[in-house]
């Protein structure tokens, strides 16, 4: 038996994650994402190849046992409505509760952008999304689900979160058919944040691990250092009477920074106000309160006493506060100062060199955030008529969503699978990581390109019965071993004790239509009805005395 792994997306690239794995005749699709960079048919995985790989059937529903979505990023879920409603897949779809709650919002948002703004042809309608979501079966963490007679799946916490998008409820998925088992990681994070924990999984016996490798070569420094720099910059700014503007999206980073600042304010006994622009709190914290089980340990612990998302030092911002004197900290949407309220505030505050703007690690080209990060501009044109003189300080702060190369290695080492397949990364980095995994961990590793198939041999366990005599023989042998061992222990040096591998000799008998069994030599002979024949060999070695002597001398000197 083998595991066939067909990579339909995210092979040697980032985007449209989609891997179809065939284990023991069961076909599972992990993620069904779209590529944000393409606007043609390349944006979706080439689903037709699934049918090509399954010659026995012509429709997707019978070709695929189930679809599993790890989290609700568009590059992991974007093609799902297309696959179910347009391609006509009607089988089960699994995702975690938060993913199911948040996915329709993401899909609808993107559909609107696609159709309304770009004027593209509609790939699927809002109704399609709703119909698709109805087919979804939500799963809980560590809940084992029997998809059909052979296939078992289980979700583990992956801790992934991405600053600009709302990611909560990302999962790693374990799938098992018969004795063959594998894990698909999706995107995950091995370092905990203040509001989301680190990935958690058990040590499993795996044949295959399919892992993301976004940061295959990078090793990130400690998040503490980044936090410290951030707090230092903010504290310095407000203590000199400046205002701090933190442009942010509603979910994820805002909560993370807020927990950080709220804590710091409490400790340092600062009285300077922290504001949330209207709308941010209501929408944002709702999901977290709803889905508390998916957050970090600290949040869970404190949740019983007080809601950790009710910040003590945070209050609502009124539009009229913009021109108020005195220091303050303001969280405003949207994140990259691409317009809206954060732009409005930026225009007022950027002109003073006392003020500070904190930017995320990544800004899309064309936004003001991007302009601020590239070099140190003194003047920014907002449109033809207006421009802003930028005198304020800029602080860049990156909270990274993916695990780094250390994290990938740690997880791989912990899970110790027989084979590793890398997806969701760039080719040169993946090649580097493959070398590391093969040389340091001694596992075979692959990084197939899109539409390539990797076949992996699996272990197969067999039930074998043993005869009574065989077992008694083994026990006798073991008893003798133990006796020797006791002698070894009482002497001072006993290096060999743990190295013995209790060997037992027997003969494996596999007959047609009978269960295989192990038996002893004698029994075997009896079964065959023959006598024992023994053949003896007399070793005759040609040797010369002189050579032998020389060899002995050599041995001695070398020692």
């Amino acid at each position: 038996m083998a595991i066939e792994c067909l990579v339909l997306g995210a092979g040697q690239e980032v985007g449209k994650s989609c891997v179809v794995v065939t284990i023991g005749g069961k076909r599972i699709m992990f993620d069904c994402g779209m590529h944000m960079g393409y606007h043609d048919c390349n944006r979706y995985p080439d689903f037709a190849r699934i049918l090509a790989a399954a010659p026995e059937t012509t429709d997707f529903t019978s070709a695929i046992s189930c679809v599993i979505i790890t989290h609700f990023h568009l590059d992991h879920i974007g093609a799902l409505p297309y696959f179910t409603e347009v391609c006509g897949y009607h089988g089960p779809i699994y995702m975690t509760y938060p993913t199911k709650a948040l996915a329709p919002l993401m899909l609808e948002d993107y559909r609107k952008v696609m159709v309304d703004q770009r004027g593209e042809e509609e790939q699927y309608s809002y109704e399609d999304i709703l119909r698709c979501m109805k087919k979804v079966i939500p799963v809980d963490l560590k809940q084992t689900i029997q998809v059909n007679r052979d296939l078992v799946i289980r979700a583990y916490y992956a801790g992934h979160y991405l600053s600009k998008l709302k990611v909560l409820g990302a999962a790693m998925v374990y799938a098992k058919v018969g004795d063959a088992a594998m894990v698909y990681t999706g995107d995950y994070n091995m370092t905990p944040d203040r509001h989301l924990g680190a990935a958690q999984i058990e040590r499993l016996k795996l044949d295959l691990l399919i892992t993301e490798s976004t940061y295959a070569k990078t090793i990130r420094d400690s998040k503490h250092a980044r936090e410290r720099e951030f707090l230092k910059a903010v504290h310095k700014c407000v203590s000199e009477g400046g205002k701090v503007l933190i442009p942010t999206f509603a979910l994820g980073r805002a909560q993370e920074l807020c927990i950080l600042l709220d804590d710091y304010w409490e400790r340092m006994n600062l009285k300077i106000p922290i504001y949330f622009s209207a709308g941010l709190t209501i929408q944002a914290n709702m999901y977290y309160k709803m889905l508390i089980g998916w957050t970090s340990q600290k949040i869970k612990d404190s949740y019983t006493v007080q809601n950790p998302f009710d910040f003590k030092h945070v209050c609502h911002f009124e539009r009229s506060f913009i021109n108020d004197p005195g220091p303050c900290v303001l969280f405003a949407t949207p994140g990259m100062i691409s317009g809206g309220f954060s732009l409005e505030v930026f225009k007022r505050w950027a002109t003073s060199d006392k003020n500070l703007v904190t930017l995320p690690g990544y800004c899309v080209a064309g936004t003001i955030g991007h302009k601020l990060m590239s070099g140190k501009p003194t003047r920014i044109d907002i449109d033809k008529d207006t421009h802003v003189d930028v005198r304020c300080q800029i602080h860049q702060l990156s909270f990274s969503p993916h695990t780094d190369s250390k994290g990938i290695m740690d997880l791989t080492e912990f899970l110790s699978p027989n084979h590793v397949i890398l997806v969701h990364g760039e080719k040169p980095q993946m090649a580097f990581l493959k070398d590391r995994i093969e040389s340091e961990l001694g596992m075979s590793c692959y990084y197939p390109a899109n539409n390539e198939t990797v076949s992996i041999p699996t272990t197969q366990n067999m039930k074998i019965s043993a005869t009574e005599k065989f077992i008694t023989n083994c026990a006798a042998l073991q008893a003798r071993d133990s006796l020797q061992k006791s002698d070894l222990i009482s002497s001072i040096h006993l290096s060999g004790v743990n190295e013995d591998e209790r060997l037992a000799e027997g003969i494996l008998l596999m007959e047609k239509s009978k269960a295989p069994k192990i038996l002893c030599e004698d029994e075997f002979l009896k079964l065959l009805g023959t006598d024992r024949h023994s053949v003896q060999f007399e070793p005759l070695l040609p040797s010369r005395i002189e050579e032998a002597e020389a060899a002995i001398v050599d041995d001695l000197t070398s020692e």
Binding site: H224, L260, S482, V497
Partner: protein
Amino acid sequence: MDGSLASSDPGPSFAKPPGSSGDSGPCASRSSGPGPEVEVRALVSMAGGLYPLARAEALRGLAAVVEKVGTSGGAVECCYGCAVELLRDEDQSIRLAAVRLIGLCAEKFAGREEVSGIGNGDQMDLIFLQLSSTARDMCMQVRIEAFNGLAKMQRVSEGVLLQSLSKKVIRTDTGSGSICKANKLPPKLIFPCAAGIFAHGIEDEFYQVRIAACKTLGALAKFSGQYAQKALDLLMDMMNDDTEAVRLQTLQTLFNMATYGYLSVQEKHMHMFLATLIDANAIVRNAARKILGLVNLPKLQMFRSALDGLITSLEKNPEEQDIYSILFSIGKNHGSFSANVAKHLAKEISTAPNGELILDKHRIQALLIVSISAPVSADKHKKLDIPSVIFSHAIPLLGRISSALGEDIIKDLSYLCHPSGMPFAEKGLMSGEGGRSEFWSVETMRGTHALIEKTRKETNCSDEVLIMGSMRLMLETVEETWAMRESCGIEEIRTILRTCKEEVKLIQLENSYAIGPTSLDILLEKLDTYVRRMKCCYTGLNRELEVQVLELVLLANLFRLSKFGVCSKLMLDKLHWIINQLDGLCADGSCEFSDFSNTVKQTFDANVIDGTLVVDICNFLKIFRLKPAKDFGMLNAASAVLQVLGNNSENPLPYICGLPVGVSFDISLSNISGHDRIWIRMNSGQSIQHAFLELSCFEGNDEVKSCSTVIPFYATPLACSFVLRVCLVIECPSGSICTHYEEHGGPRDSVVQLCDELNVYLVSTDTECKN
């Protein structure tokens, strides 16, 4: 044979008592019998079994055996090997037990190395790596246990340690590579498993793991300086942790490192330190200060920023008096930096317009303390000249800070009086009867005796130096004043000269103190107080004890005499009176005159010439022998309770400014006889008022008397509120020799406080109306 040998001789000195071993294993309790190797054999085979719970239990059993056996013998190796095999088990409880067992084995190995003296560094490194590889386990308990195990490691090589801090794999020859080759490790361990375990540990999701990682970081610092330095970077980051327990543990770790001298603070760390100094949590602040008091700051700038941080902290939390002692020890640790601070401060003092420099300001106080700490610093070989103006300014603060600094430093500080030339009112500092009121028990006399002996030695040399020094300073002051006469107003110069004159007078007076109170003066005064209390506050002393107490009084007075060699009429009168009393007590022969009293008496009879005594007092002190009393009889301590009902800071009594106010007291006295003279002492600010208590007004018997009475306080201040400190005192009869209070209306003799000072809160009616 071998077995019984091993069990009867469980290793010479490192064997733990059986009782201390863990009780989890079934074999742990069986200390006698077949010996450890049978247990080990059985448990090892169980550990290889099929069932996870049995495997885990077997490992726990092995741990119990390892704890029990000595360091010698192969059992430890055997257990270690077994644990290593199960380190990667699927079941987390087995991994947990395995990690724990490896930690124990490592301890045993280290103990063995200590005994034999032969270090096996490779083996230690190997164990370190094995434990490290579990520090990234997915199970929280395993991670904690791994860090706990790592903390106990001994003799780990630097390369491995450094690797554990950095996530990036360091490829060196001394690093993990060679070890792996040397020991033919399984391929899993070639993977540099120690990489960055601490970097991960301090970011862990669970605070318990973070605490364990933090402890281990500190514990390993002793092996390598380079490691300690890098570990400090990580620890600094942890001060921003969101859990308070972790922050406190971090500070504790830093404190330990500082205590052992592994902490070298750099400029980039100062920001975090200064932030913790103004933390909202008092425990955090306190811990941060303690560390700061120990570290060595390499740059003047850092020193100054540390001082600024402490001053800010002092301004925010003025109640935290231990900041003063931290300032002192920081100053002491950085002698030349403090000298620099002193120089700047002196400049500031001299340039400040008159009256502008307020000593109450925390900044000035703090800087003064740092400045005066310089001369006691370790780098005495460098000549640190502290401007004398610093000392003269520091003197008034002495009283306030001495309590914060503690006894040891006070002794150090006696040098202050030497270079300072300030006229100084003794009343402010005298402990006299104010403040403390611990009851003196007869049993502690031995302690006093030791104290007396010590003081005597110090006495002889110090007084001469003190007088000479102050005279010289005064002459200098006069000279300076002469030079100043053109620049300053004549009024000012006159004041200075007058002060000098008065001071000279003070020195000339035989029975007065040279300048300011020294530690010796304070001690003498304390001694006087205690002896007086013994004499007055205990009724039912038997004859023998009474004689002893009187001898002590005599001794205390002789000490005062010894200070100047010659004595006044007053002193002599007092001595005569005591000797006469002694005479009276021993007249009927029930008690014997001691050698000491005898000699003193004879000397006094013979040597008084023109009212002065010319004799070497030290001779007397040599003869003095304290006979420990055997029979104390029935001792009754005189005491009193003073109360003002319904008065506290929330409910003050009303008064009208400038008019007398009546305060009603509830007084109860115990063990006061009818002929004792009891006074009530009220004081507020500078004004002290005594009122005599007529004992006939009290109800009750000799043992307990009580009465409630209204006593007026006349000198109410012109303030919206004030605190009246009230206290009951008993007069000590000392013949007709008037010693202490010359003011009319007060007690004639010296007094002893009978109870703690009571605060009575009063508020002006004007303010009450306003509110």
